[in-house]
């Protein structure tokens, strides 16, 4: 019983923490964020498994975590507001060539990150080639170049 309770508690806690931390925390793969994810996974494992290293406990935890994922995906489909709360929505950061600095500050995204996304995804060289930049739900920045389809 305890394994299931621990699994559910840790799953919900991580869900809340990563929503509060913000989209960019999940999407970036700098060294800093990689170290953070490694440490979190190690801490999470200890909190869930405790002293019980049996195959049964491991299987129960995996079933609990997968079950939580399935349950949440069903609930998100039934309740669009829950989907919005858990996954968020895309946010325009550059609108028709204009940088929306307030929004960028709120999301902790700066101009260089937008330009990096523009170079990596569209091969664009400068800000004036960007028509729209959108911070997607998964934390990636998508770029729509000017005059593009």
């Amino acid at each position: 019983m305890e394994s299931v309770i621990r699994g559910v508690a840790v799953y919900i806690f991580l869900l809340i923490i990563f929503r509060v931390a913000g989209k960019r925390t999940l999407s970036q793969t700098t060294t800093f964020d990689l170290v953070l994810l490694l440490i979190i996974s190690e801490t999470t494992q200890q909190a869930m498994v405790d002293d019980d290293h049996s195959v049964t406990n491991g299987a129960l935890l995996i079933i609990t975590l997968v079950g939580m994922t399935i349950l949440l995906s069903v609930l998100k489909q039934r309740f669009p507001k829950l989907d919005l709360a858990l996954e968020g929505a895309p946010l325009i950061l550059v609108d028709r060539g204009k940088l929306l600095r307030d929004r960028m500050n709120k999301c902790r995204v700066d101009e260089s990150e937008i330009l990096t996304a523009a170079r990596m995804t569209q091969g664009l060289a400068a800000m004036d080639e960007i028509e729209y930049a959108i911070l997607e739900r998964n934390g990636d920045i998508s770029i729509i170049p000017k005059g593009g389809k």
Partner: protein, 179 residues
């Protein structure tokens, strides 16, 4: 400018988020949601900061607030942690005045069931279980005697512990174990 749903969804009778038009961009931005989410995030960060401060101060486990002492009749002195955590190491450090007879320390059997006893210093020369009490007997020093009980609690919540020392009195303390 908003359109109820995307054209394709409307044609196929599907539901979905409301699409907004920004120039030629069609997107389900929902800016009100973002404003609410930023507010919630700020509250979340404040809560995280409070939890960290609370932990440092000892409100969520070992720390300055958690460490405390209890004094009892007959010169009993106990150092312990009033807040600990499930399966985390904690201790009871008891000091009693010296004497000639052996030191007999009793705790409720219920308390022993709720913990994993790791170590007792010094090692008791005898252990007795009678009724609802668990008694350890230690050789006593002439000046003063000290006993350190190291253990890890099972379960969580408020627990009361009564320590009785023969011919010296009793001490009742309360501990809270975080999950």
């Amino acid at each position: 400018m908003t359109s109820p749903h995307c054209k394709v969804c409307m044609e196929q009778g599907l539901g979905g988020p409301e699409m907004e038009k920004h120039g030629r961009l069609e997107i389900d931005e929902n800016f009100d949601h973002h404003v609410r989410a930023w507010r919630v995030k700020r509250v979340g960060w404040a809560v995280m900061l409070l939890l960290m401060a609370g932990a440092l101060a000892g409100f969520l486990g070992p720390g300055p607030y958690s460490r405390t002492t209890a004094r009892g009749p007959g010169g009993l002195h106990l150092e312990y942690e009033r807040i600990s955590r499930y399966n985390a190491p904690t201790h009871l450090h008891l000091r009693v005045p010296g004497g000639k007879e052996d030191l007999e320390l009793s705790v409720p059997a219920e308390f022993i069931k709720q913990i994993d006893l790791e170590r007792i210093d010094p090692e008791p020369k005898e252990m007795r279980l009678s009724g609802d009490k668990h008694t350890w007997i230690f050789p006593r020093q002439e000046s003063s005697s000290e006993v350190m009980i190291n253990y890890r609690p099972h379960g969580f919540g408020k627990k009361k512990i009564r320590l009785e020392v023969k011919d010296a009195g009793a001490l009742e303390i309360q501990q809270f174990f975080m999950p």
